[in-house]
Amino acid sequence: MDTLIDKVRNGDRRSLAKAMSLVDRAGPQARALADRLRQSTGQVPWWGFTGPPGVGKSTLIDALLNMLRERGRRIGVVAVDPTSPMSDGALLGDRVRMMRHAVDQDVFIRSLATHHREGGLSDAALHCARLLELAGYDPVLIETVGVGQSEVDIASVADICVVMLGPGYGDDIQLIKAGLLEIADIVVVNKCDQPEANRLLKEIREELGEAKRRNVETPKRQNAKTPTAEHKTADGIGGPETLKRRNVVSSIALGGSHGFEAPPIEIVGIEAKSGRGVDTLLDKLLELDRAARRPDQCQHHNRRRLMGEISRGVMLTCEQNLNRALAAPATEELLTKLERGELSLDTVVAQLGVAFKP
């Protein structure tokens, strides 16, 4: 294990690829490596990119890679695509849009499948991002699967969250709905060569502009939403409830308890294929990136990330117990009884739940 970590640190590309495969396979070796990686990383900001399927995440990352390379940066990319719920297979089709960087020694792209994880990412995505950090890539970019409104794991994983939208996202009501838009540090409207996109851009500026003003003007109401005393940890970060709601309010609330203010949400319109507007976006990303390197911010993000890992780790154990319970022959009987109305669903769930021990 030590040799492998040293090789990765020294820039051995093949070892980096092999280490990533190791963490992608569940098992004790993967967990041991993951533990070591946690200790050696956490200083490089991770930029997260999320948004609906087909909105242009991969295309944007391709354009950013180009610009970051012009500025002499070495960039790592983790791109996640969904595992088939039917076959356990996957098409990992993000890097196909980044192929012009395939032979660049200062770019490393790794494609991963979710392995049925909900939330937009996979367990291995974090470990691979840490490996990229260890290998000297800075920044590290993470692309989620095409998400809907409620897959927001990226919020606890990345230091900076870019939420991308495109034409056809919906109307003003749609923009107030809970979920995706709440986790953004930057909202990017892509495909601004289309009039629909520009209408959306205008509406977002109105909607999120509203939210910004509301939160700044009513600090007392913000405090009502902060975690209660029993949820708070020693440094005030709070329990899983807070993390699930990484929204504008709790960002500012958390910020207040640390003595810094979360910056206002940036809203940028671009056309990723041609690169129009991407330089403006990159400037804003680099600004946030600089702020994210401050030691207090770094620690804040790291702890949030670790909290997410704890939460998902517990859920994974529960899931494994569930899978075993569902596969047992006794479940077939329970299913039949439920079908016939001999048992209620609550009873069936309770009987299966006996096997549960997180």
Binding site: G89, M99, V103
Partner: protein, 176 residues
């Protein structure tokens, strides 16, 4: 969430049509036993790509869908790639198999270059196969370069999947 629990029937898999390919047929060749507690085993990774200036990707995309249905993780590198791009991608993504599709006639030169680069990278244990309109008389040469199979028009999908599964099911995880 894996839906497999909802669709699996005793003794097999419901034939669900996915993009025109009977899923049951693709799944039927699977030999890998997955621990029921674990969400997903360690799916093998297969790179499918087209080298050179060939833009006819219907066949490649058909194979990509079939492999996905058969439970593999497929890294599709698209059309008009150089041998260098293919090999670099294969090494960085740590794939188990590379499948190259070519219909333009440049297979002898380009496939040889891919095989050469893989050896230079120390990645000679990646399984190589080819598909496309390749004349029978060229197949022995390609096999001598390291291409395990050359799937010309006429091969049944089930043959292709069975060949891959046979080869991969036997492989042990490479120790690092």
């Amino acid at each position: 969430m894996s839906l497999r629990g909802c669709f699996a029937v005793p003794g097999g898999f419901d034939p669900i049509r996915s993009s025109g390919l009977p899923l049951g047929e693709c799944w039927a060749v699977r030999k890998v036993k997955v621990d029921v507690a674990v969400n997903v085993g360690s799916p093998k990774r297969i790179l499918i790509g087209k080298v050179g200036l060939d833009g006819h990707d219907r066949g490649a995309k058909f194979i990509v869908r079939a492999l996905r249905n058969a439970g593999y993780e497929v890294i599709y590198t698209g059309i008009r790639r150089t041998p260098e791009q293919i090999v670099r991608t294969a090494v960085d993504e740590d794939v188990d198999v590379i499948g190259l599709s070519l219909l333009s006639g440049a297979h002898n030169e380009l496939f040889a270059r891919v095989a050469e680069l893989l050896k230079e990278e120390g990645a000679g244990n990646i399984i190589l196969f080819a598909g496309g309109t390749i004349p029978d008389k060229d197949i022995p040469h390609l096999k001598s370069l390291g291409f395990r199979w050359v799937f010309t028009p006429g091969f049944a999908l089930s043959e292709i999947l069975a060949a891959l599964e046979e080869e991969l099911a036997g492989r042990e995880e490479e120790r690092i």
